[in-house]
Subunit: 400 residues, 2 copies
């Protein structure tokens, strides 16, 4: 059996993702699709709209055969680390390729970009360093350095000003290092003439979340998600609110105001005086939006600030982060019969422990995933009449 | 003008307190009554049922002339430190005496007890140490040591098995050190024949809180509190719930689960493995009561556990606590015209800064009082449609 991998968040799953899964299997000529999925907190530094188990169920019903968890240490990291953690897990489980979405669906410009940057690595990194010293944000510094090495380009490259292209570039970079084949498919929004997927069934996850939070009426998004996703969201809504930072606001405000500026700098990414801004803003804000408005500055992107906030919320320290160098386990969140057949075939060649029962492991990276999930549930429980406790510890992989 | 001092929590103010204030002035032959009052968190390791400003208003309307705040560092400490902080502030502001309530209203047994213990101090402390090594709780160890020195007693002493007597004993101890005269009056419960205070107008603060939390109907307690207290409670209820640990439960659960066992031991009193019990219980409890039931053991009194929890909630570290040796300021919460006249007379002889505007001070002990108050309000805000922010920083002393 041949497997291909995809890197996902499914926040929430929608018809565009359905297309992505089908296309990935098709262009990779794969029998099995493995998704490595962020758990409780996502790459933009946000809690997921519904928990990892609900999103796993959506994925299994939509053609994904195996869902494994991208550990917190990677799911909340910047693009390079996020990509390298994801690709290394897909490689470890035995995927021959990884398929990601891009604007035009052509892998060549990504490969050329990768080649261009690797062959000018020293200059490129010196330029990033130089730009950041001048106070530019990390993405701006990357662009600056990239503009510089672009002068050496001889073939078409990708525009690294687009966040999705930055992720794609890092997938390709990590794939090259691990000898897993990078493939890309065009994003569905470009395919409005696609016969099986009429344009009015596609909406972005951002638009869908907006509807979930604003009108809270699931009928508004029914057309844009597969039926099992719709059911899973309906079920979630009967016992919990959909989750966003505002849901967790009192917890966040408390955790910031309970600490000295110096204590705040123990958390990953928090430094350079932003800790004072966090405390000052937490003292005077009545909502997450107001808080963010007060801490936002040119120096930091919204995403970078949200990641710092995620680490403060979950208690993810620099000390702990420094002990992690690579994923040390593959945590199974869900699997189909087809996926199970693939695992049976691969079992002996998977170099990392495949974890179904978390009680069987005391890996510190996995323990932190459980901690993040518990804190996510403490927040979600504020909206629930029947609180859920220790869910992540008790839940076995979903099987379909 | 002559001033007497009282040590209070007013959680909430009731008719017994009204009697206490009047009697204190009478037996001390004082023109002015100064109350040193715990702020947001109290000696039993609990948040106050309403905030310090509401309780200050109750006091000023009931005969107290000056309300000063007992800093967090003392208000949440065990009896000896609580008493020494309180008495030293009353002494600093110029009180000639301190009046406390006791069962029989006789100061002699307290003085004899103090004399007995001070003249056998070494033996007494050795016995406490011995008993704690054997695993007894601190109050039990005190009793054990006291039983031992009691064999030397030649006059009537007090029963130190009663928590109120322990506090009284420490007031007397601190008063002796500071040459302020200790006085005691009988508790009102013993005075049911008192003409002006019929028995059916007296209920304990515990009973009143129970009514506030259970029926939430203020009519049930109207008979037991002065009219201004009733109004203040009514006003509080229009915008907030009455506060108890359960109100703060999600914040407490989050702050415990966000930390490693080792990180929990940075907070005052947390050690000896209780940190593991806290985390385990927080993972599996849906309420504060359930949590406490799970962490309760013979080794720790309820009060001691609640104090640890208070320090975890507010972020009060051993490191910060070690920097505090004595109160360094007198924070004014409220004052009457009569109180103001006393202050004008005393001003030059008060050895500590008298603080009305907290913005004028950066004393770390005061900053922590503000932090505790802000965290109290983050919790209270969860029950409010209009959140209150930075109240303690912005509020000037109440004047009547």
């Amino acid at each position: 059996m041949r497997a291909t991998g995809i890197v996902v968040e499914y926040n929430p799953f929608h018809n565009g993702h359905l297309y992505h899964v089908a296309q990935a299997k098709k262009i990779a000529q794969a029998d099995v699709c493995v998704a490595v999925m962020s758990g409780s907190f996502l790459q933009r530094g946000e809690p997921a709209v519904v928990d990892k188990w609900t999103r796993t169920k959506m994925a299994l019903h939509a053609g994904v055969d195996i869902v494994i968890e991208l550990p917190y240490a990677y799911s909340t990291a910047q693009a390079r680390q996020f990509a390298s953690g994801s690709i290394s897990l897909l490689h470890a489980i035995g995927c021959e390729s990884v398929v990601f979405g891009s604007e035009n669906g052509d892998i060549a410009p990504f490969s050329h970009t990768h080649h261009l940057i690797s062959s000018h690595r020293t200059e490129y990194e010196a330029k990033i360093h130089e730009a950041m010293q001048l106070g530019l944000s990390y993405p701006k510094a990357l662009q600056h350095a990239y503009q510089h090495v672009l002068t050496y380009a001889t073939e078409a490259t990708v525009d690294l000003a687009q966040p999705n292209n930055i992720l794609g570039y890092h997938y390709v970079e990590a794939a090259h290092e691990l000898t897993i084949r990078p493939l890309t498919i065009p994003r569905i929004a470009a395919h409005y003439h696609d016969e099986n997927m009429a344009h009015d069934t596609i909406a972005s996850a951002t638009a869908i979340r907006k509807a979930l939070f604003d009108t809270k009426n699931l009928r508004d998004i029914e057309a844009f998600v597969p039926a099992p996703t719709y059911e899973a969201l309906t079920d979630w809504q009967t016992h919990s609110d959909f989750i966003q930072w505002q849901t967790f606001w009192p917890l966040l405000q408390h955790t910031i105001l309970q600490k000295t500026p110096q204590q705040l700098t123990q958390y990953v990414d928090v430094s350079e005086g932003i800790e004072f801004a966090f405390i000052k803003a937490a003292k005077t804000s009545t909502s997450f939006a107001e808080f963010m408005q007060k801490v936002k500055s040119k120096r930091y992107t919204w995403t970078r600030l949200q990641r710092m906030i995620t680490h403060i919320f979950t208690g993810y320290t620099k000390e702990l982060n420094a002990t992690f160098t690579a994923p040390r386990y593959i945590r199974l969140l869900g699997i189909t019969k087809n996926g199970q057949a693939f695992i049976s075939q691969q079992k002996k060649s998977i170099p990392l422990p495949l974890i179904s029962r978390v009680a069987s492991s005391d890996d510190a990276m996995l323990q932190f995933d459980l901690q993040a999930a518990n804190l996510y549930d403490v927040g979600a429980n504020m909206t629930r009449s029947a609180p859920r406790l220790n869910v992540d510890y008790r839940t076995p992989p979903l099987r379909l």
